[in-house]
Each structure stands twice: as structure tokens, then as C-alpha cells.
């Protein structure tokens, strides 16, 4: 019984293998590129929707409960949503803004939860400033400013009225995503 073995190794097999490998490499590259693009685009869309919803809730609602700024215990158990409106939409209650500003250092994560900013690595920064016909006066700087690791930053500006003089008050909300591990491109 012969133990010798044979192999078929024709040129057309080599060409077929090369074509297969080329197609495989091109497919892999195209797949990776598409996935990265879709990931980035969807992430951006998510931030935009979050920021718009959060800004709308702040200027159009009083929050729940409406007197949340007077509660001694500020947490997600006692407060279920935040809102700057005093008694009707677009009229800002400066006491609520000041209270939020004062609690900023210890309750940033609570703010994020109440504003619905809950994605991985999502952060926000909010600036509330009142225009007194000559210059802007900052009422509050809340949250964290976007840093060098910010991957996407979405900026929303809304206008409210403040006080009896109905001063124009600008709310600028930046929602941004910090670069986390495998999400960095």
C-alpha cells in the first residue's frame, strides 16, 4: 500500500484564492467604515434629541413638584423633573436657577438624571444669563464645560423672560459626549 500523497495546486486555484482574499479585505474595510459612520451619526442624533428635549422641558415646565427649589432634600426621590418656568412657560423663576447653581457641586449626577441625559459618557453644561439692555449678567453656570476629550458637542440656545421688567434671559445648554474607550475614533 503506497503512503505517498498528492496535492492539487493549480494556477486557477491560486487566482481564485487571491480574488477571495481581496474581496474579503475590501468587505471588512467597508464594513468597519460603515459601522463607525453609523455609530457616530446615531450618537450625534441622540445628543441632539436629548439636548432639545431637556431645553424644552426647562423653559416650558415648572418642574415636578413646582416648588422643587424650596425642598431641603434635593434628590431623585423628591424631585421627578426640573423646570425653570415660574407660573407659565417662558417666564423664568430666578430662584430656581440660583438654587440649581448652588447645588451644582454635589448634585451634578442628579441633574443629569432629571434632565434625561443618561447615555454613556454624556455630560452637560448650562449657562443662564440675563440681558439688562447693556450686557449679560450670568445667573448660573451649571455642569461641566466640554474638555479636550469631548467627542461631540451639541449647543442649544433658548430665550425666556425674567422678572417684572421682562428681561431677556438666554439659556445655553451644551450636551456633550466624552470619549470613552472603544467609542473613541
Amino acid at each position: 500500500m503506497s503512503r505517498s500523497k498528492a496535492q492539487i495546486f493549480s494556477i486557477d486555484f491560486v487566482i481564485a484564492l487571491m480574488l477571495f482574499v481581496v474581496i474579503l479585505i475590501v468587505s471588512e474595510w467597508a464594513w468597519t467604515t460603515s459601522v463607525e459612520k453609523i455609530y457616530f451619526t446615531e450618537g450625534r442624533n441622540d445628543l441632539e434629541i436629548l439636548a432639545r428635549n431637556a431645553a424644552s422641558i426647562l423653559i416650558q415646565t415648572t418642574g415636578n413638584p413646582p416648588n422643587w427649589h424650596n425642598l431641603s432634600d434635593f434628590n431623585t426621590t423628591n424631585v421627578s423633573s426640573l423646570g425653570f418656568a415660574k407660573n407659565r412657560p417662558w417666564f423664568i423663576d430666578e430662584n430656581k436657577v440660583i438654587r440649581l447653581n448652588n447645588l451644582n457641586n454635589t448634585n451634578y449626577s442628579v441633574y443629569k438624571t432629571l434632565l434625561g441625559i443618561r447615555g454613556p459618557g454624556y455630560e452637560f453644561h448650562m449657562n443662564v444669563s440675563k440681558f439688562n439692555r447693556t450686557h449679560f449678567e450670568d445667573l448660573a453656570l451649571i455642569g461641566e464645560t466640554p474638555n479636550a476629550s469631548a467627542e461631540s458637542v451639541v449647543k442649544i440656545s433658548r430665550i425666556m423672560l425674567s422678572g417684572d421688567d421682562k428681561n431677556w434671559t438666554k439659556i445655553t445648554l451644551k450636551v456633550w459626549k466624552t470619549c470613552v474607550g472603544a467609542s473613541c475614533y
Binding site: S10, I11, D12, I15, L19, I23, V26, S27, A30, W31, T33, S34, K37, I38, T41, R44, N45, E48, R52, I59, W90, F131, R133, F136, V154, I156, S157, R158, I159, M160, L161, K166, W168, K170
Partner: protein, 150 residues
């Protein structure tokens, strides 16, 4: 049915390419590249466009409540509107206010200027409208807004 066969000779060796193989190869390449081409066409929505419209609605709403619209129409005075546009709107945002009477005739038009020059035009302009009342008569204002072309 006859099948076409291509014979490629390299030295004393030959490769047989049938028409089936060529068609399969071309189909595969077309399918793969076509699929990924369409997948790569995923576009981010133009979020700036709904954003500028929301700012326009905010603007008209607040200017109606604090009577800036009514005063501008009644006294033909654009001072506060100009102040608003210069300080409250974003630097790359252009705007034009127009005031109409009950019969739809234009009474006052106020444009924003950026750095002393006209804001220019854009192919995409958003228009928001708001009515206001002076002495029991209804008037309306429109705000056209667009992003300045760089």
C-alpha cells in the same frame, strides 16, 4: 445551449475561464461594493435647521409678551428689535422682521446686520409668524431666519 469558455495560456499551462465565472465575479463585486456604498450614505440630520426655527418661535413669543412687537409696529421703532438681534441671536444667524397690518400691507421691515454689513441671502430660509394686538386690532409679524453663508 453552448457555453463560452475562455482559454488563457501561460507558458505550457492553461486556465479555463467560463462565462459563468466571470458573471459570478462581476455580480459579487457589484453587490458587495453597492451594498456598502449605500450603507456609507447614512447622513446626519441637519439639526441646525429645526434649531433655528425653534429660536425664531422663542424670539417671536418673548417679543410678543414683552410688547416689543406691538411697540415696534405702533411707533415704527426698531431699536429694541435691533438690540435683540445683536445680543440674543447667535453670531452666524441672520434675521429679518416684517410687520403687516390687517389687510396684509407691509408697514415695517427690520434686518439684522453683521459687522456693519448686510447678512446676505440663503437658499434655506425659515419663516415664523406671530399675531399681536394693539387697541383690539390684530396685526402680525414674521421673522425670517437663516444661517449666514461663510
Amino acid at each position: 445551449m453552448r457555453r463560452r469558455i475562455v482559454l488563457l495560456k501561460i507558458g505550457n499551462k492553461s486556465i479555463i475561464f467560463s462565462l459563468d465565472v466571470l458573471l459570478a465575479f462581476i455580480s459579487t463585486i457589484t453587490l458587495v461594493t453597492g451594498s456598502f456604498f449605500y450603507m456609507s450614505q447614512v447622513q446626519s440630520l441637519q439639526w441646525g435647521q429645526p434649531g433655528i426655527y425653534i429660536i425664531s418661535l422663542d424670539t417671536l413669543h418673548t417679543l410678543k409678551i414683552d410688547k416689543t412687537l406691538a411697540n415696534a409696529y405702533e411707533f415704527n421703532d426698531s431699536t429694541n428689535l435691533t438690540l435683540y438681534m445683536n445680543y440674543l441671536l447667535e453670531n452666524n444667524m441672520c434675521a429679518e422682521f416684517e410687520f403687516y397690518n390687517k389687510s396684509g400691507s407691509l408697514r415695517l421691515s427690520v434686518n439684522r446686520t453683521l459687522n456693519g454689513s448686510s447678512c446676505g441671502n440663503s437658499s434655506i430660509i425659515f419663516v415664523a409668524r406671530r399675531t399681536f394686538i394693539i387697541n383690539d386690532s390684530v396685526y402680525y409679524a414674521t421673522m425670517k431666519s437663516w444661517y449666514k453663508n461663510e
